[in-house]
């Protein structure tokens, strides 16, 4: 009864208040219309802010891609010069032995220089001759030797041969050196440009696909430098990283998700994993330098050390991804296995892990992609050395793709700019491939329970 009474009282009070309130809002009044217009304008502005923010981000992505692509595409082609080479038997194989050892030692550089002198007989001074020899790259003589070794019948003949050109000449042909500016402020002098024009007008200059860029190691000469050495170094480094971080990461994730009791140890491990994921990569480099090089005396610049360092970095990524994938496997699967008499370890190895594997692999690939792009920690452990040879194993000195990019970006020669951009394109292609694979795996094996 008292409830009813209080309700009646409330109603009465409400009536008093509503009587006292202003008259109902006139929604058609100009003031309200103005106000609504203002609010809608603010709404549109706000939406435009959001859209332009995304626009800025996409624009940045586009500019980045465009500037790399426009600088780098020309590195996939290389200028070649056609010269008439006389394979002089007196120079190559005076005794006519036909022995590859004798032919291999011949002065092919001299043949090229002779051909250049024959092509431009008007060049006489020592200085000009030296400039003239730069038209052809120092690496061309090796190509010539390979050619003769492959086909000894060439000896004694005179053939037109396409030879790889020097880097300045290549830059001129690609339009990066402006022939119109003052002679003193460009890399090539007027004479060199006139030789170029002569060669072009006789059809002896051509751009060919630059396969050497993909097959050779680093070099001081831009036209001879390639990314294969760095790619192999990256491969060994990632191999070591994967071999360590994948099993360790998966086992740790299984333990933390399936077996670990809730105790102090587990909490400390979890806090540590979360913090390690956010430690700057360069700090891992300092760790690698101190522990692997100073304490354990592992070889400097070796992919093993790089892999060990990167493994510690990728571990948190793999553990976090694997835990998420294991958690996503529904408990009913485990209960069914346990109910049939499987031990906890059998349940995990026979049922939970196979079902979680696509998720674990996706996380691993993403972690590997991060490791492939990582540079800073590898600088700390000496993987920045100038290494010409292709590494033959994980203990040989090597460099990796991103460090190669860093080294080339620091080189003063103009031709290295396009090499750097091209190497970036190759690195990005690998990253896109890996991430694409991760997306594909996720799409293909994604299961809704």
């Amino acid at each position: 009864m008292t409830d009813m009474a209080s309700l009646m009282e409330d109603r009465a009070a409400a009536k008093v208040i509503s009587d006292k309130m202003h008259k109902p809002v006139d929604w058609d009044s100009p003031k309200i219309a103005r106000n609504i217009k203002k609010r809608y304008a603010a709404e549109r502005r706000f939406k435009i802010y959001g859209l332009s923010a995304i626009g800025i981000a996409l624009l940045a992505l586009f500019v980045l891609g465009f500037s790399i692509g426009s600088k780098g595409y020309s590195a996939f082609f290389q200028t070649y010069v056609q010269l008439e080479i006389h394979f002089d038997p007196a120079e190559i194989d005076p005794q006519g032995t036909g022995d590859p050892a004798v032919i291999g030692k011949a002065n092919f550089d001299g043949l090229i220089k002779q051909a250049l002198r024959d092509r431009f007989p008007e060049v006489t001074s020592r200085r000009d001759k030296r400039d003239l020899y730069d038209v052809v790259s120092g690496g061309a003589s090796y190509d010539l030797r390979e050619r003769v070794l492959a086909n000894p019948n060439l000896i004694g003949q005179t053939r037109k041969v396409w030879l790889i050109s020097g880097d300045d000449f290549d830059m001129l042909n690609k339009g990066y050196i402006d022939a119109d500016v003052d002679e003193g402020s460009r890399r090539l002098n007027d004479k060199e440009i006139s030789w170029y024009n002569t060669l072009v007008s006789s059809g002896a200059v051509e751009k060919q696909f630059h396969a050497r860029f993909f097959t050779s190691g680093d070099s001081r000469e831009p036209e001879l430098a390639g990314i294969w050495g760095a790619a192999v170094g990256s491969f060994y480094t990632l191999l070591v990283t994967l071999a360590l971080s994948f099993p360790i990461g998966v086992l740790a994730a299984v333990y933390l998700e399936e077996f670990a009791p809730k105790n102090r140890f587990t909490t400390i491990v979890e806090v540590n994993i979360n913090n390690l994921a956010a430690v700057p990569s360069i700090v891992f480099g300092l760790l690698g330098l101190e522990v692997y090089l100073n304490v354990m005396h592992l070889p400097r610049s070796a992919p093993v050390v790089g892999g060990l360092t990167l493994a510690l970095m990728t571990l948190p990524t793999i553990i976090i991804a694997s835990r998420a994938a294991i958690k996503a496997v529904p408990p009913s699967i485990r209960q069914a296995a346990l109910g049939l008499g499987a031990s906890p370890v059998q349940t995990v190895t026979h049922h939970v892990l196979p079902l979680a594997m696509p998720g674990i692999l996706t996380g691993t690939i993403i972690g590997m992609a991060q490791a492939l792009g990582e540079t800073a920690p590898l600088l700390m452990i000496g993987m920045v050395a100038f290494i010409v040879d292709i590494p033959g194993g994980a203990l040989d000195p090597a460099t990796v793709l991103p460090v190669q990019i860093y080294l080339w970006a620091d080189s003063p020669e103009r031709a290295f700019v396009e090499k750097t951009s091209a190497a970036i394109m190759v690195l990005l292609a690998f990253l896109i491939l890996m991430n694409g694979l991760a997306v594909y795996l996720r799409k293909k094996f994604e299961r809704k329970w």
Binding site: S67, V269, I282, V283, H297, G373, L379, G393, Y406, A409
Partner: protein, 459 residues
């Protein structure tokens, strides 16, 4: 004998032990597996584990200690005039290892060093042979013990599961080990540094010029290790980066979460994530070769003197790199604001933008602050962009058009190339690393606390 060959050999031995262990269990069962306590494969695994684990453990321990023990043996034999001076000693050790690797023909060194080189080569080959013997012995002891223990009553499954449990615990402990490793390696060298330079001078000094004389007769400045200019430079670049990343990241998260159609989101979201996947060295190249000249040329048109290694170029590009980080974190936070709050606001007649500004944003604020703090910690620790695009000169300035240097740049410059682990120059990198580690760790712990506290509110 190479490492990979050793590992392959261990793997082959494990496979063999698995096979024989399993065979023996099958033979003992007399054709009826129900006579056995465990499945035959468990017996095989049991033997294989006893073969592989001792071998691998021995290999690990051996590799941790081999280098330092052999070095100590070499140093003990060297004459005191070489070991007395640490600079000479490291030079001599370098030549010794070159001679040992048969690369030292061109070196002009004293006969003691050449002898030591040959002794090193000798010791190394002995050590490698001994390692193989030790590993084989360890493996065979393990195999013979476990093989003999195989009987139908052996609780092989329980044993294997117990071992695998310990292996898993060891794997989890690596997370702790690496943190401990980081802390100790930084602390050890940093303390070494602070024994030469007063920590107060380091943390509050206003001048940074780490060039010190390595030899006594060299002409060089004494070196000043005041890190304040580095902190200022780091802060300046971080602030510029945040000025780009926070508004752009936040607004794109808002648009993505509240306005965008699902079709637009399906295209724009992965595109933004590409920005996060681009390696930092690529951003560095972009900053140094595209953005910096662009700013310099346009600055010249406006009559501004922009340094070619300006803080602005590095900061802008770093901001672009961090956009997806801010946007995805704040997207997460804002999507966790309960729908009921939105519905309430719409019900009162608020427009979308009013709802976002007055309801969702304040509700998500703690999470967004956490996201920004994480982004700041990332900007502070970022290395390659600043190494390639920011300068080396430690200018004390807050002018974004001038060149500044950062903590990470100095660490890289100090440690790439020759290192002298007893000069303050090299050691200062570790002190800087320690500061960097502590600051980023503090920021992360704080940010995670903030985010977690916020999450509890709505769950």
């Amino acid at each position: 004998m190479s490492l990979s060959f050793l590992l392959l050999a261990v793997a082959a031995l494990c496979a063999l032990s698995f096979y024989f262990g399993r065979q023996r269990a099958v033979a003992l069962s007399g054709g009826r597996y129900s006579n056995l306590h465990s499945l035959p494969a468990h017996y095989g695994t049991y033997v294989a584990l006893w073969c592989g684990l001792p071998a691998l453990l021995l290999l690990l321990v051996w590799h941790i200690f081999q280098g330092s023990i052999i070095e100590a043996m070499i140093i003990a034999e060297l004459p005191s005039e070489i070991t007395g001076d640490s600079g000479q000693l490291s030079l001599a050790l370098n030549s010794i290892s070159l001679i040992a690797a048969d690369n030292g023909q061109h070196l002009t060194v004293s006969p003691e060093v050449i002898d030591a080189g040959h002794r090193l080569a000798n010791l190394q080959s002995i050590a490698n042979a001994a390692l193989v013997v030790v590993m084989l012995t360890g493996a065979s002891i393990g195999v013979s013990l476990s093989y003999r223990k195989i009987s139908p009553d052996l609780r092989a499954r329980n044993n294997v599961e117990r071992i695998s449990r310990w292996v898993m615990i060891a794997c989890s402990a690596i997370a702790i080990l690496s943190t401990v490793g980081i802390v100790f390696s930084l602390l050890f060298e940093a303390l070494h540094f602070f024994s030469k330079i007063n920590p107060v001078d380091f943390l509050f000094g206003l001048e940074w010029s780490p060039q010190t004389a390595i030899r006594a007769d060299q002409v060089a400045s004494d070196g000043a290790f005041g890190a304040i200019p580095l902190f200022v430079g780091t802060l300046l670049i971080t602030i510029i980066a945040m000025c780009v990343a926070v508004p752009v990241g936040l607004f794109s998260a808002i648009y993505m979460g509240e306005y965008a159609s699902s079709k637009f989101r399906a295209v724009a979201k992965p595109a933004l994530e590409i920005l996060a996947g681009v390696p930092t060295v690529v951003y560095g190249f972009f900053a140094a070769l595209t953005v910096a000249p662009f700013l310099r040329n346009n600055g010249a048109i406006l009559g501004l003197d922009v340094s070619s290694e300006s803080a602005l170029a590095a900061g802008l590009v770093m901001g672009v790199m961090i956009i997806p980080f801010v946007s995805s974190l704040s997207d997460d936070v804002m999507s966790q604001v309960p729908q009921s709050l939105r519905d309430g606001s719409y019900g009162l007649g608020a427009t979308k933008s009013e709802t976002i500004r007055h309801v969702i944003f304040p509700a998500a604020l703690p999470g967004i602050v956490g996201a920004v703090l994480l982004a700041v910690s990332r900007a502070i620790g970022e290395t390659m962009i600043v190494v390639m695009a920011a300068g080396l000169a430690a200018n004390m300035t807050v002018n974004p058009l001038q060149a500044v240097t950062t903590v990470t740049v100095q660490i890289v410059t100090l440690l790439v190339g020759d290192q002298e682990f007893d000069s303050a120059k090299t050691l200062s990198a570790f002190a800087l690393g320690l500061v960097l580690f502590l600051v980023t760790l503090g920021l992360n712990v704080f940010a995670l606390k903030v985010v977690q506290k916020y999450r509890e509110k709505y769950d």
